[in-house]
């Protein structure tokens, strides 16, 4: 496996869609390639940091306003 191959498998690696053989090849490659090791680690951190972040909070007030507006529109169509 070279660096380009690794990159093409990166998403499947994080989504746990790779065969054991390919995962093993990735771990062999990253053991000897500092750049790919960093790309793998920091891409993983990218996914994780967004996963945990509530970027657009919906306050209870906003939710209530939204909910009432949705239901009013739908019921008007009834």
């Amino acid at each position: 496996m070279n660096c380009t191959d690794l990159l093409s498998h990166l998403s499947d690696y994080f989504d746990e869609q790779l065969t054991t053989e390919l995962r093993e090849e990735i771990s062999v490659h990253t053991a000897g390639c500092q750049h790919c090791r960093v790309v793998l680690n920091t891409t993983h951190q990218t996914i994780e940091v967004y996963k945990g972040a509530e970027l657009y909070e919906v306050s209870p007030q906003l939710r209530e306003r939204l909910h009432n507006a949705i239901m009013a529109k739908c019921l008007a169509k009834k």
Partner: protein, 208 residues
């Protein structure tokens, strides 16, 4: 590795009964569906349009459209995926209206590989959470995802923020699974590259 479920063994989703009741005119059942998904639809719309007022309008319009077209929902996909698809289309339409001279579609700017080839090879140390407080981190993450082309931003939002499966993301966007995978990879790599500016380990002697 998560087991791949075959449709035959899949349990019936609780939404199926609610949708059936809503179709027969039960408003309370529809309201329950609204309650379950209004926040998610709002977040998706805000991620795509980057505008709070637009996201509010889109959320209302998406549910109204779903209500009007409920009879057309065949149940081939999950109700939530169908709803997200309506909201994505409404959001892209809104972006198109905003930029009258420029077309906006799920395919926009996705042909370029710019930014998808890694150039920054510094580790992130300390962790982003240790480096910034929650509000600073939120600002960085919002600003960074805003810089992605809409096609990449949308795929990343559905898959990695809203946690839809690759197949559900493909259905919601009307794309093939390979197209979603390819966009997701490039979106993740572009975000990584952009975030590296903030999170990369500082070299000794280098000004912070």
């Amino acid at each position: 590795m998560p087991a791949i479920q075959s449709p035959a063994t899949e349990e019936i989703h609780p939404d199926v009964a609610l949708v059936a009741r809503a179709k027969s005119g039960d408003t309370a059942a529809f309201e329950q569906l609204v309650r379950q998904y209004e926040r998610q639809i709002f977040r998706v719309a805000q991620h795509i349009t980057q505008n709070r007022e637009d996201a509010e309008d889109i959320t209302q319009d998406a549910f109204l459209k779903a209500y009007e077209k409920l009879d057309q929902f065949q149940g081939n996909s999950k109700f939530s995926t169908w709803l997200v698809r309506i909201a994505v289309n409404e959001s892209l339409m809104r972006l198109r209206k905003r930029k009258t001279s420029k077309t906006v579609s799920i395919d926009q700017d996705v042909e370029t590989d710019e930014g998808s080839i890694p150039r920054d090879f510094a580790e992130w140390r300390p962790n982003p959470e240790q480096l910034y407080n929650q509000s600073e981190l939120g600002d960085i993450l919002r600003k960074t995802i805003q810089g992605l082309p809409p096609g990449f931003r949308t795929v990343f939002t559905l898959r990695d923020i809203e946690n839809l499966s690759t197949e559900e993301t493909a259905e919601a966007l009307g794309l093939s699974v390979p197209a979603v995978k390819s966009r997701l990879l490039r979106a993740r790599l572009q975000l990584r590259e952009r975030l590296s500016r903030y999170f990369r380990q500082k070299q000794e002697g280098q000004p912070a």
